[in-house]
């Protein structure tokens, strides 16, 4: 499936910026389930500094906010050809050892709630079924409610609150999977929705390493494993490691964030919309 994406993030500052940096993890890389056909980022109110690969193999761009700017706009756009691999990526690439993904982070530490969730999990014949069960259980316990949580919310807090967004779903799933002994990672990416091309945030899900199978994806928010409608951008131990934009700003004042995201499928002429692969 060919997906066309345009993702723009605008930060507005109440007082002019003195100094600041932002790391952008907004460049998908070609891999087993996707090839990037074209991609570009455009920045306003900041200057490009570097492009490098981080420890998880993510392409990272560092930008420096322009002194005196009151707004920065980061726009990523491009086309990605995806393939439905049933949510399974069989090989592990890069030097990050698999055991690293068993490390818990402040956002994914298992508290009482997550330990209970794991204990109450229905038994299953195989690991994939067990983890789908986990995904379903989290989906039931944590309602999809935007605005109830933020980027600092921990897995345990989201579970106790019973509300969150895809990021919280992924965190709870990762925390539980690690508690069960599975290496797990956070994936940030895009998703083609059926309802509308316009979205107000990018997507996130989780992957678990299963010996003999590979990295298996679980999208708790949608209760499925990723398919051809998903584009992977970055992975990491949690949101902090894989966030699309992570920054640091010196100077006083508040900042406001506005995201515009459009994901649509590009159909070759003559193709019918139903004919998805």
């Amino acid at each position: 499936m060919r997906l066309v994406i345009s993702h723009s993030t605008t930060y507005t500052y109440s007082t002019p910026v003195r100094h600041g940096l932002q790391e952008l993890r907004l460049r998908p890389v070609s891999g087993p389930c996707q090839s990037v056909l074209a991609w570009d980022t455009e920045i306003v109110g900041a200057t490009h500094q570097l492009l490098f690969d981080d420890e998880y193999g993510n392409r990272v761009e560092l930008i420096r906010l322009t002194a005196g700017a009151t707004e920065t706009v980061v726009t990523a756009r491009g086309e990605v050809e995806t393939e439905d691999v049933g949510g399974v990526i069989s090989s592990h690439s890069g030097h990050a050892p698999i055991w690293l993904f068993q490390r818990s982070t402040p956002r994914t530490a298992a508290g009482t709630g997550i330990r209970e969730l794991c204990r109450d999990l229905a038994e299953a014949d195989d690991e994939v079924t067990l983890l789908h069960g986990l995904s379903a259980a989290i989906g039931e316990r944590v309602d999809y409610v935007p605005g109830q949580s933020d980027v600092e919310t921990t897995a345990e807090d989201a579970l106790v609150a019973g509300a969150g967004v895809c990021q919280d779903h992924a965190h709870v799933f990762i925390a539980a999977a690690r508690h069960l002994g599975y290496p797990a990672r956070y994936v940030s990416g895009y998703l083609l929705l059926g309802s509308s091309e316009q979205q107000d945030a990018s997507h996130a899900w989780a992957e678990v390493w299963l010996e003999g199978l590979g990295w298996v994806g679980f999208d708790v928010s949608n209760g499925i494993s990723p398919d051809g409608r998903y584009v992977r951008i970055a992975t990491g131990l949690d949101y902090r490691a894989a966030a699309p934009i992570k920054g640091l700003r010196y100077g006083s004042g508040e900042e406001a964030l506005h995201v515009e995201l459009e994901v649509r499928a590009e159909w070759e002429s003559g193709q019918q919309q139903q004919r998805s692969r």
Binding site: Q49, E55, G57, H95, L100
Partner: protein, 475 residues
């Protein structure tokens, strides 16, 4: 002088005869008036105070600067003794660099089962941000200070490989400077190998590790946490001796993909940053976000190949006490050689058998915290009270993997000058190795730390230790 029974004295051996490396010194000393020497000793202290060779005490008032006591009797090593140490250190340093490259890439040593994965995976000193990162020139530990002790004529043990940011080299240099000023006649009589090349060597060695894109004369800077840091004197001293800028985090920023310093003419890029700031504080964007001491973005510039950081972040995984006991395996794995310098036998309390042994033999052992430093948080069995032992037993049982234990070594002594004449005191030795892509340079000598209290084994300056000039003889 009476030697301490059961301990090797480096001047007198185990008896009254003077050992060969000290014969010339003894001849000179015999003709000296001890009162003149004590006066000289006081002069040296006044000199240090006046020149501001001080260290700040952690937790003390801002103005609490102390001198590290200096003893005027040199610690002397024969050329043949030094040769052993030099070769042994070089081997260790080489192996440690190979280990660091491996551990942040394919981790062959774990795959081969030579080190249990848990030793690395449970270790805070393993820095994920270094995964897949090869520093310019392939060098991780640009400067290593290896702590060595001696127990007999031919017995040396490595206590610790300081592979993060070893300090103390300024004392090696200043102590020699002081000796040359006070006793020039000694150096005409004895042929002592100079240490004064160190700053030039450091500069050359760091320059050789600059990113490939830097020019012929790479710009080097020393990064200090500032004047309140305990080792500030050393930071300023080294910058001065190398003729490079001494910078603080707020002098630096990211510009055009480089780390630049703010100068009176504008921004100037830096190629090599010899940092004396800990990993945690190095980059608020990546590590502790509350750090005022680092530079936001420096790790990104580093990963992109735009700067050399010396030593590389994450080198702590090589000198961690939990790794220490595996260094002989590390040497064997990467060099195929037998270790030239001994490791102190070490019980890893994480292993149940070892723990049982340690608990049974607490009174004979030194127990150390795996992540502690500076001689804090350790139990010296033979010197401990019943109560201290009981409290440590509890700690060990509660958290065995936090501890290792080693036998108490019969550390050698070297005489110091006291009001009552020469008296034996325990010493250790920290020589410094400089690593560049093409060679390893080890300055002949090092920092000799000496426990000033009688029979004390604690040489740390933070706990009342002093220093001596260290002589390596030409022949």
């Amino acid at each position: 002088m009476d030697v301490r029974p059961g301990h090797f004295d480096e001047m007198h051996g185990s008896g009254t005869t003077v050992r060969a490396p000290y014969v010339d010194y003894q001849d000179w000393f015999a003709d000296e008036d001890p009162r003149r020497l004590l006066k000289k000793s006081a002069d040296a202290e006044a000199l240090f105070r006046r020149t501001g060779i001080t260290f700040n005490v952690y937790g003390g008032a801002e103005a609490d600067e102390r001198l590290i006591p200096f003893d005027i009797v040199p610690r002397i090593l024969a050329a043949s003794e030094w040769a052993v140490l030099e070769r042994g250190m070089e081997q260790r340093v080489r192996a440690i660099n190979a280990f660091l490259h491996d551990i942040y890439h394919r981790q062959e040593i774990l795959r081969a089962g030579r080190i249990p994965t848990s030793v690395i995976s449970d270790n805070e000193a393993f820095l994920p941000q270094m995964i897949g990162m090869t520093p310019p020139g392939g060098v991780y530990t640009h400067i290593v200070g290896t702590d060595i002790v001696r127990t007999g004529e031919n017995e040396f043990y490595v206590l610790e490989d300081n592979a993060r940011t070893p300090s103390g080299v300024s004392y090696m240099l200043e102590n020699r400077e002081t000796m040359l000023q006070m006793f020039p006649e000694l150096f005409t009589k004895s042929r002592v190998r100079p240490v004064s090349e160190y700053p030039t060597d450091l500069r050359t060695s760091l320059g050789a590790c600059a990113p490939a894109a830097s020019g012929n004369r790479p710009t080097i800077a020393v990064l200090t946490p500032g004047i309140h840091n305990s080792a500030y004197f050393e930071h300023a001293f080294l910058a001065d001796q190398m003729s490079v800028e001494l910078v603080e985090g707020h002098d630096l920023s990211v510009e055009d993909g480089r780390i630049v310093m703010r100068t009176t003419r504008g921004s100037e890029p830096i190629d090599v940053l010899y940092r004396r700031v800990d990993d945690d504080f190095l980059d608020p964007l990546i590590f502790r976000s509350d750090s005022q001491l680092g530079i936001a973005g420096v790790m990104d510039v580093y990963r992109a190949g735009g700067i050399t950081i010396a030593n590389a972040p994450g080198t702590g995984i090589a000198d961690d006490k939990a790794i220490y006991s595996y260094v002989p395996d590390i040497i064997d794995f990467y060099t195929g050689e037998k270790p030239l310098l001994n490791n102190v036998p070490t019980w890893r309390c994480a292993e149940p058998d070892s723990l049982a042994y340690v608990l049974d033999h607490l009174a004979e052992l030194v127990v150390k915290e795996v992540h502690g430093s500076g001689g804090y948080g350790m139990l010296v069995g033979p010197a401990a009270s019943k109560r201290e032992m009981a409290s440590f037993t509890k700690k060990l049982k509660a958290n065995p993997s936090k501890y290792i234990a080693q036998p108490t070594l019969a550390l050698s002594t070297v005489p110091i000058l006291t009001r009552a004449g020469l008296a034996p005191r325990h010493v250790d030795l920290r020589p410094f190795a400089l690593v560049s892509p093409d060679r390893i340079r080890i300055t002949p000598g090092g920092l000799t730390r000496v426990a000033l209290k009688r029979n004390s084994l604690v040489v740390n300056s933070s706990q009342g230790g002093g220093t001596k000039d260290t002589w390596v003889m030409e022949t």
